[in-house]
Point group: C2
Chain length 426, copies 2
Amino acid sequence: MKKVGVAILGLGVVGGGTYKILTEHREFYKKIHGIDISVVSVLERKKERATALGLDVSKIASDISEICNNPEVKIVVEVMGGVEPAKTFVLAALNSGKSVVTSNKELFCKYSHELEKAAKSNGCGLFYEASCVGGVPVIRTLIDNLQGNKIMSMMGIINGTTNYILTKMASEGVSYKDVLKEAQKLGYAEADPTADVEGFDAAYKLSILSSLAFHTKIPHTKVYREGIKDVDLLDLKYGNRFGYTLKLLAIGKNSENGIEVRVHPAFVQNSHPLASVNDSYNAVYITGDSVEDVMLYGRGAGALPTGSAIVGDIIYCATHDNFNYSTFENNEDADPSIKFITNFESAYFMRFDAEDKPGVLSIVSSILGKHGISVAQVNQENEKKGGTVPLILITHETYEENVKKAVEEINGGKVAKVVSVVRVVT
Amino acid sequence: MKKVGVAILGLGVVGGGTYKILTEHREFYKKIHGIDISVVSVLERKKERATALGLDVSKIASDISEICNNPEVKIVVEVMGGVEPAKTFVLAALNSGKSVVTSNKELFCKYSHELEKAAKSNGCGLFYEASCVGGVPVIRTLIDNLQGNKIMSMMGIINGTTNYILTKMASEGVSYKDVLKEAQKLGYAEADPTADVEGFDAAYKLSILSSLAFHTKIPHTKVYREGIKDVDLLDLKYGNRFGYTLKLLAIGKNSENGIEVRVHPAFVQNSHPLASVNDSYNAVYITGDSVEDVMLYGRGAGALPTGSAIVGDIIYCATHDNFNYSTFENNEDADPSIKFITNFESAYFMRFDAEDKPGVLSIVSSILGKHGISVAQVNQENEKKGGTVPLILITHETYEENVKKAVEEINGGKVAKVVSVVRVVT
């Protein structure tokens, strides 16, 4: 029986989950896949993490070179996160002829070309399903299933922490700050939540997914990014009256005019499949020219779901002889021939504090009209507060820049002040 | 550049869609995948189908042997449907060293072992993503992504025609017969709708999917099957009051006690992701021991979505040198060591015509209790009709056989007659 030795770099949440899956399923994989996969080495400074997993401390390598020089190791699993020392270690493994499976979105997003070049020149595999959306099979699907499509767009809820926070805010009417505190207590959010709540994590993933979908390197620096820190409970409430749910969406679109990639809060209609993706669940909704719409849904994080993606890659690597690589000849720069669209087209939800007197709607909608924005729905709430009432408009599709100009003009007048502007997916 | 000649057997809906995708994307595939894929031959008796696609009639082969002997043909696409002559043609192609991509669920479900044996012994690939759930990437996901999991269960809406009918019945309050007539007029249902509405189509697909998920051949003859012909509008209405939506579900479960596979109408809670899978959309909800829950959603049929799955397989086949096969050494018989569970465990929706007098609920629930069935919710509707009123119960989980015995005993008495029993997914 073919023996496949695995080394795991980092025994944190995902490394531990991967170790657990591989160990508990060893006999199952022998029976089903005809291969004997075992963890033969780990790199982890905290010895107690290894012993807590029941791992023999003799398997703890003293450094990466010990793993690179170990002939039993066929596949190196990198689950350390961050760029360094992960990058140095992954390159060392590839250059020693080991295939690599990684969950490291930041590393792969920033250095895919350099890593794939090393993998290719050494005849090794480089797999990264676990880098995006945990257990959701989106990378394999893009590479080996939808690869006959021209992908027109993808919309994803690809960060579990922010989706948990927005779901709680909506269902329990609790403010962003309070839900964040609770999420941190429960371990659903980091002590420093910046990467999640400001959309960096989603932007890295969108960079990887849209590069695959659109067949050109989309650097994360090209992703327009807005987080959820300023999401106001009142907007969730008013949006709900129009049948909308607020999500942090990662959106990639590809058309003849160019490519647009953006991460920001957006309203989706309650009837859209993405609207019911709640709590820490994630989903990616992909539209291709042949397949039409496909949605992939599941656990976007967690020890075992992410471990499932890693182990899927390990078995794939162990049972295939030839590996595919993307063909992007760049790391952090985009192909100069690609045009990135920044003046997005979207519908908008606009909330105003308006003077409580007749004619205000006429003035506001006249200014909007002047900037090419037509109004689809209006709601004038009867909730007076300090002399003003809330006025809520949903616009038809228009351009981001038109909205900015209209907001400026309305705020410059006296009858209404813009409180919130939220993009609406149509 | 690598040239890949494709022959298509059958230019019906899916064959035509596949031809269209391959032809229109030829330059795109050269650029992106570095291969030149072209349709070099077709087998189709109706010449007008070829000419309608703009296909040169010189490419119409006179018989299968012409295709088998054509050295330009590397991949044969079988989209004829039915067992014969498809089986003979597929075996001939494999035995001539051609890889095969098929959308034929009945053929693959009934003869997977024979076909895979021929593929393996000839070093050819045999691909069948399009045989199940159209453009939804469920087969590749099971083989190359979730293969490190022990799959515990799958629940699918895997027949578009029945989902269209049930969605229409629920949203418009129209009877089964009337919606079916309309669906036939629109081409969403066949003139003879038996295969769809009686669940045969779903049973074939469940056979293939559960064989892959549970790593043992699950013959379609082991699938318990009930169609949607007897679905009563009133049950949809009353179910809705409990927050349920009715779907034709294909369910596969694997536990230490054995395997159960069944296709039947069932209520799912409105908050379950499957409840919002409407119209002709399909979805498969898979639960694995590591990945937890994954749902794959999309178009389960249609020329281009199914063509997308076929073309995905063609490109995969053209870009991989080694192919995997399942290991089931049987076609239509199950491994004798597998125990199939037929006394399903489920919750139930039960509707009675009950006498309109006090004490009826007590009698009915006492009989249920005697058979080990406990009641979770009750609804006594105030809708008198011919001396009786509707009484609706939702039970906790119990066994199918208990329900049958209780129904018999209740129907043998005078106070209530059972009108409908519908399984409820909990």
